[in-house]
Subunit: 758 residues, 2 copies
């Protein structure tokens, strides 16, 4: 059936997440809740220095404490190699950032472990630290690492995929901290700028931003008698974590099991971090081990979004067509580049536009901070913050309508982009809907110091190979078997896809999330991939199951499958609702001791042929206090193309969540280090996430331009939802005050500074 | 590819069981080894009476003991209904056999539970017991049960399937203990007997026989916070147990998980017994609960093979053709008929022959003993004990060669049998091979009191609906995902089937046994079904996976799939061993972040079109001590058609195991009750299983007559292997002494008695 013809009855219906009752009533089993016999609790000994040589570790006093089972240093772990975050879950001879775990205390209780950690005496030889990104790039900067780096498995670990096709690796610059330089070039950018009616430029800075999930990192591991390492983890990707553990700990894949727990928020931060360590610790201690971060450990020693410096210059002709872009981007990779976005950011600076010419260079820089990880829409928020301000500025200077300018440069399918060709993007539909939104029309008449800004954005998303099983259970219900970590309600979405495809009610389908070695190939819950990529596999599996069900019913009823339909839990001849065979009957005859038919085992194994980015537009209304620089977000409209809203309630949840997170990103959130590399924001008192008072009602507008590739036309929407938010706030601040902000977060101090300068 | 053309490289190779090293080194995780936090241990309060009304249960003293968490009676369990074993895991108002669990004590340790169980005071009102099968059939017998029976779920629980098609339910006789009467009739048996050259008859009795697994029954259950009941059990059928728990405990199927543990022997006895109880106890106690039977509990309160009385009369014409059979069979169903073989035994009395006429009546009788369960080749050993002696006797009386007589009456495909039409059976091949065996030829010249006997037998086996998944893992290996309980080396067999089909080495395939709700439909490991039925699904899944692998390789190499082969872990163009793409590459591109291809997810969902019984012949050489009646088995040859030997070593293991068990059945094993219904054989001191000295070297002869339906021609062989053993020993005793034995086990006393009578 084609998407247009599709008259859905389950898909498109607003319903709460399947697991909501367990979360609301406190019966969801989070990773830290799992009862484990003989469990040891881990607590870190963190480095007090941003950079230091570890001379010695004296654990005698800690080990003397009653209830302490072990104090593990890097050397005690069954992990060989060095140089990557994965291979150095505990610092080896050198501590590379303040808060880096140097030793792991294992004790019978968390309290004992905490007491013991304070008794571990580490003798350090402090080394000069490279903290600030700009300073670290200087040729005279101290090296952020002095010890030799072993064979890294960074390529394997790269969750962001390979760098784009046209990227080249250049020789390092003179700074000892530059690890790589990537270039993307096309056309003559100088000539383009020369021929432009206007050119705008700026140096944009964005800080390190934490994913700020509610539940800190937590994982438990134990070793079964045959040597199998079993891990139960709050992870976004059980299969990925399984492979990482096998590789890092050096055990065969078949000897690793990873069960995904209920995840209390991830946003990219829980792809794989502590799983190899907890596995290694369990192997070393020969006891079950749990590591549950405190909030301070989580803010100090995980994998937030990298700090960036983006020099960007953009040209536009008199009609509003973009002519070219030049950008020099420095990526702060901190101490470990395993999960650096430096291979990814080059294409991202192109944002949602087509460019006739570009010259982009990305430099990855080591510093003495934690290493970066993934964060919802990695680097797109930051790049869009730069581009959407420059585009706004050019439209302003050329006297063009900002919406018209964006429409003019929006991509058409097949047009060139920095890393290939544009797939279909409903940018036009999103921008036009934004143009009609009352909030956008309201901007003409606003009080003093208020402004309305707009930004457009998208994230390309990912297309992942995925498998799924739709299995008829002995009671006639359908189980979707998957290994997915449900961080955004995707289990609810795929249940609807299966039910819709099979002609069943939502209640007749359930989702069985199973341990990674038992699960069909399931990608990381990242890259906006689950509904789009896994949902596609579920759709295929459900179609397969439906065929099998109809085949059995056809045999029972002696009617051709094509003349049958599934209605109300039974297969009936089309037009003869009084005849039929129930799904329970079919289950009994194919799963019990009856054996008339093979069991119903629908299988899906798919990979979308291309990406289906979800375009979106934010319109933001702000009021700026000129005396303090405080920005209040008064109103937001978020328009987003979702392809098809499998569950509009959950789509809106993603949209509202993205906008809310973008407000934090734009105005509040930053992991701040002092010049010695000490984290100044180690709790939620200092690391400011938006509170209810900071988030206005958000008007969400869903647009449905079906994807040719996603299940029932759906697109992945989770990441795009955050992308334009910060840029829209910056443009609104400009509309209110005439000031252009170049640094995120746009704190009162920075806004006040910008107001003074403008 | 046709079976005949098949040139196998993995299948047909002798190799030990995959899991053998873990069992030999003690690292296999048996169900009682599972560490569980907060575990309570269960111990039963058994009934001292074979039949009694339970007046009251006083648990006060037991509950006062430190460490006792609960004392549960039937009323405290969340199980409604009555009348079946499943619904009465603890006796309700009436104890129905000596040793029946009346209450369950839950305590922090097994020792405390045991002490507390002795403190529970149960007030009984003894009732007259119906113990002996013959006596229970008398009209004046006391009823074995006086309390009302609720809605039973016996039909649902019937693991032996429905009774055969031509069976009718007759009115109960005058005895209060007869629960049903089944009849099978065809032709005029009286006329057949009248026209026969000879008629032989006898009344055969066989005792209750325990499966005598090494590991007693054990299961653990806990309730997850969302109400899901998780069970870890030594079970032969996790999926079946899951459905049984859901039904008996009255919770939705989706809220039950059953993980099959390593099984320390089952032989039919661990299909489902304690799982509903342990689940109900965990729900009642709100704590994890383990029930691990002691040996005495296991011999006293499980589900052994039922005691039988078989009156059989058989006619033969002068040429040796069987003319008809009349049989009256009484089945001792004990206290519970849930798993009674009474619906199954009627057709079994026809053994491996075609009959022109039959008249069979089966009467099921309640007594005050445990209920029966399945036992390797249910009832076939007993029926064959009768038939093969009578056939032997007729051949003897008519002066015909016993092997020739059997060949003459062996079934041809499509010929009528008592419950339908004969599928293909390689009886002729097996009998002919037996005839050529040196041991059979040795019988002409034997010392005094020695004899060689022969018997032929088969078990029809089962054809079960089964699913299987062959999944390519991220490291390029293949995982066969299944829910099977491996009691006989079947994981090793299905790994070979998958490897052979995929063109891989045995080592490149592993078997992932997963929890029942995660597993493809997997039948109970019974009915000789796993290699035959699950192996067929694995074969289909592997073929599906192979196609998917070749499709990816074809795309990579730009060569048609038909021109490719899988060799040495890579896909190569046929005839170009230097080109190709490795399976690791294919895995990387279909499971990692590469995403060029969908993942390889081979799916099999099959049910064999008909049965493929495995015919076998035992030749046994015995010496009988005329003074004591002691029988020594000096030599055994076991000839068996296996269809195709997937792994000859494991086939021989099944054959040797079957013969060994048949020696126990024939000579030693019986659960003996005194006239009050007290079990006289509550330990392995009294219940005599064969020791090494009782089992001679067994010569196994594998015949391969491929099945049209089994994977690569394989047949299910586990049950047939035991069937003719006891009859062959009986015939050998006759050959040695001229005495005919009518009762199993043929203890020295019974043999001595028969010698006196003959």
């Amino acid at each position: 059936m084609s998407i247009e013809e599709l008259d859905t009855t389950v898909v498109g219906v607003r319903r709460p997440r399947i697991e909501a009752p367990t979360k609301v009533t406190g019966t969801a089993l989070y990773a830290s809740d799992l009862p484990v016999a003989g469990l040891l609790h881990g607590r870190f000994v963190p480095s007090p220095y941003a950079h230091a040589r570890i001379v010695s570790i004296d654990a005698a006093a800690a080990l003397a404490l009653d209830g302490v089972a072990a104090v593990l240093s890097a050397a005690a772990l069954p992990i060989a190699g060095s140089g990557t975050r994965a291979l150095e879950p505990l610092a080896r001879e050198e501590a590379l950032y303040a808060g880096q775990p140097v030793a792991l205390v294992l004790a019978e209780s968390e309290a004992i472990a905490e007491d013991a950690a304070e008794l571990v005496v580490v003798d350090y030889e402090p080394l000069p630290a490279a903290v600030d990104l700009d300073a670290a790039l200087d040729a005279s900067a101290p090296p952020a690492r002095t010890s030799t780096v072993g064979a890294a498995d960074a390529a394997d670990m790269a969750v962001h995929g390979d760098a784009a096709g046209s990227v080249e690796e250049a020789a390092p610059t003179a700074s000892p901290n530059v690890t790589s330089t990537h270039r993307l070039e096309h056309g003559d950018v100088d000539a383009a700028f020369a021929a432009s009616a206007a050119v705008a430029e700026g140096v944009f800075r964005t800080g390190w931003v934490h994913q700020a999930y509610i539940e800190p990192q937590v994982a438990t591991a134990w070793v079964e008698p045959d040597g199998t390492v079993a891990i139960h983890s709050s992870t976004q990707g059980a299969s990925f974590a399984r492979a990482a553990v096998a590789r890092v700990v050096g055990i065969p894949l078949e000897k690793v099991k990873v069960t995904p727990a209920v995840v209390g928020g991830g946003f990219g931060g829980k792809i794989v971090l502590i799983e190899p360590l907890v596995a290694a610790a369990a192997l070393a201690a020969r006891r079950p081990v749990r590591i549950a971060y405190t909030r301070t450990e989580d803010l100090s020693a995980t994998n937030p979004a990298a700090g960036l410096r983006l020099e960007v210059k953009v040209g536009m002709d008199a009609e509003g067509t973009l002519t070219g872009i030049r950008s020099r981007i420095a990526v702060d990779e901190g101490a470990y580049g395993d999960m650096s976005p430096s291979g990814l950011i080059g294409p991202r600076i192109g944002a949602g536009y087509t460019w006739p010419a570009w010259d982009v260079e990305v430099t990855a820089v080591k510093t003495n901070k934690f290493g970066p990880g993934a964060y919802r829409g990695p680097t797109a928020t930051q790049c869009t913050f730069a581009i959407e301000q420059l585009v706004d500025e050019l439209a302003d200077r050329l006297g063009l309508d900002p919406l018209e300018v964006r429409l003019r440069n929006a991509p058409t399918e097949g047009a060139q982009k920095l890393d290939g060709a544009w797939p279909a993007v409903a940018a036009r539909e999103a921008l036009e809907a934004a143009g009609e939104h009352p909030l956008w029309r309201k901007r003409a008449a606003l009080p003093q110091d208020e402004g309305i800004g707009l930004a457009y954005g998208l994230f390309p998303g990912a297309r992942f190979a995925a498998g799924a099983v739709c299995r008829m259970e002995p009671d006639g219900s359908i189980a979707v078997v998957t290994g997915l970590a449900d961080i955004t309600g995707t289990a609810t979405a795929i249940a609807a896809i299966a039910a819709e495809t099979l002609g069943l009610s939502f209640e007749q389908v359930r989702v069985n999330v199973v341990e990674a070695s038992a699960a069909p190939q399931t990608p990381v819950s990242g890259g906006s991939a689950i509904t789009y990529s896994v949902g596609k596999a579920v759709r295929a599996a459900a179609e397969d199951a439906r065929e099998q069900i109809l085949r059995i019913a056809a045999d029972e009823l002696e009617i051709a499958p094509a003349d049958l339909e599934i209605v109300d839990g039974a297969v009936r001849p089309i037009g003869s609702p009084d005849r039929g065979v129930t799904l329970s009957d079919i289950a009994r005859k194919s799963t019990g001791f009856g054996n008339a038919y093979p069991p119903v085992e629908g299988r899906g194994a798919t990979v979308p042929a291309e990406l289906s980015p979800s375009a979106c537009v934010n319109i933001v209304h702000v009021r700026v206090d000129r005396d303090t620089g405080r920005v209040d977000v008064l109103d937001v409209a978020h328009v987003q193309d979702v392809g098809r809203a499998i569950n509009p309630l959950l789509c809106e949840g993603q949209m509202r969540g993205g906008v809310t997170q973008s407000i934090g990103y734009a105005l509040f959130e930053e992991l701040v280090h002092d010049e010695d590399g000490q984290l100044q924001t180690p709790t939620f008192l200092g690391y400011a996430i938006p509170r209810a008072e900071h988030v206005p009602a958000i008007d969400t507008v869903i647009i449905e331009v079906p994807s040719k590739h996603g299940p029932l036309g759906a697109k992945g929407i989770g990441e795009s939802a955050i992308v334009p938010g910060a840029a829209a706030i910056a443009n609104a601040i400009h509309a209110a005050t005439g000031a252009r902000l170049r640094t995120m977060p746009m704190t009162p101090r920075r806004v006040w500074q910008a107001l003074r300068e403008s």
